[in-house]
Amino acid sequence: MKSGVDVSDLRVVRGGAEVLHDLTFSVEPGEVTGLLGPSGCGKTTLMRAIVGVQRISAGRVTVFGEPAGAASLRARIGYVTQAPSVYDDLTVEENLVFFAAVLGVPRDRVDECLRVVALEPERGRVVRALSGGQRSRVSLAVALLGEPALIVLDEPTVGLDPVLRKDLWETFHRLADEDAAAFVSSHAMDEATRCDRLILLREGRIIADDTPPGLLEKTGAEDIETAFLDLVARAAS
């Protein structure tokens, strides 16, 4: 299997405190890998390190065999931050057209991406006037423009209604079916079952790295939330 993201012994220090402690794992193409853990456990920092915007203190992060942040990777990674990074004072379409020009992708990608995130009816509206969920979908659409081989999504489903959430997870799987690697974080444990693989993070350490069924089997728990609590209790004792 060709490698997607390889992280080995990654350590990150921010503001004098170590927030990620020697993490080692990988994210494979063709899979939706979930990064789950409570808020403040280091999910965003880890994602930023993979995208290459976070300075790392030790260890190694490679994406498609190249060091994270390499210039050649920029066109191949789609990154959606937690707060939607789009221009509030532009319309949905103007945002996409601008980023498409920066990426150098053809205009018809704009229509395709709008369709994927179900925002075609809102294309002419100014982003500021949209709901929070719609805004984060604009941000997602921007990340999809360049047909990225790795898509990194930081809590993309927060504040979305259940129908939309389901639709988005289906989108992530569709991308993975086209051999992209999808790395999605969430603090909602009920989303765990939608992932092909799970990485549970707590206080900057990985406490589990498994498939959802594998994790349930190993812990004997009925759901992922119980499994998580079980693993935390085990780690403490």
Binding site: R14, G15, V51, G52, V53, Q54, R55, G69, A71, R74, A75, I77, Y79, T81, A83, P84, S85, V86, Y87, D88, D89, L90, E94, F98, F99, A101, V102, L103, G104, V126, V142, G146
Partner: protein, 244 residues
């Protein structure tokens, strides 16, 4: 760097401005109002005043306004995450900076064209040199303001802090540029200081154009442009792809 990306940035900035009608109106109308106010002030003192101060003001206005507008807009890009997103894309830092300089340079040209037109034809400002040169100087001043604004935005966390750089960096330059006291008549030390401040040359250039039929402004203008370029390079250094 690529022209495609530079132009995309410039176009996007202009669309944003166009949508913000109030800001756009203020950008275009306020300089005219200020020129008119200055003219009115000296109505009863025709021998001294408007003709001396107006050229300096035509240099100051684009500089100050573009400094403020750029420092706030780029700070917004930094805090909203759009800058980080752009830097994670195949975009050169130069594209970002030049795109901004292009867009604001264009606005400054329009702004100054209005203020100059009003000053010459309605307020009887006597300009000896070619009028287009006044515009060139104004645009270079605006680009200087933009470049400095962009640079200082890196040192501000909030918009409150960003606008505080105006009294810190701009007002001393206004005081020392020769508007209040001729630069030759300043105490030697301050004269020396004014020699290394870009606004001094901007005002000198404006004065030469208005007072001389064949003004030798390229030296002054070149210096202002060099300062602008230096500020842009420093600004580029503050656009970091990675953070702590």
């Amino acid at each position: 760097m690529s022209p495609r990306v530079t132009l995309a940035v410039a176009r996007r900035v202009l669309i944003q401005l166009r949508r913000d009608r109030r800001t756009l109106a203020m950008l275009l109308v306020l300089p005219c109002l200020i020129m008119a106010l200055l003219w009115w002030m000296f109505q009863d003192k025709p021998s001294f005043g408007f003709g001396v101060l107006a050229p300096a003001l035509l240099a100051l206005i684009p500089f100050i306004i573009m400094f403020l507008v750029t420092s706030v807009t780029t700070l917004r890009e930094r805090t909203s995450g759009t800058l980080e997103r752009l830097l994670a894309m195949p975009m050169g830092k130069g594209d970002f900076l030049l795109g901004y300089a292009l867009a604001f340079g264009l606005v400054a040209a329009l702004q100054s064209a209005l203020a100059v037109t009003l000053s010459i034809w309605a307020l009887d400002l006597d300009v000896q040199g070619p009028v287009w040169m006044l515009l060139v100087v104004a645009v270079v001043d605006a680009v200087l303001g933009s470049a400095l604004g962009l640079f200082v935005s890196a040192f501000a966390r909030t918009e409150f802090q960003a606008v505080q750089f105006m009294p810190a960096l701009v007002i001393p330059q206004i005081l020392l540029c020769g508007l209040f006291v001729h630069r030759d008549e300043l105490p030697p030390f301050l004269h020396g200081v004014s020699d290394v401040l870009p606004l001094s040359y901007a005002v000198d250039a404006m004065r030469k154009v208005s007072g001389d039929a064949d003004p030798a402004v390229w030296g002054d203008l070149g210096l202002v442009a060099a300062f602008a370029l230096a500020a842009l390079v420093l600004g580029a250094l503050t656009l970091r792809r990675q953070s702590e």
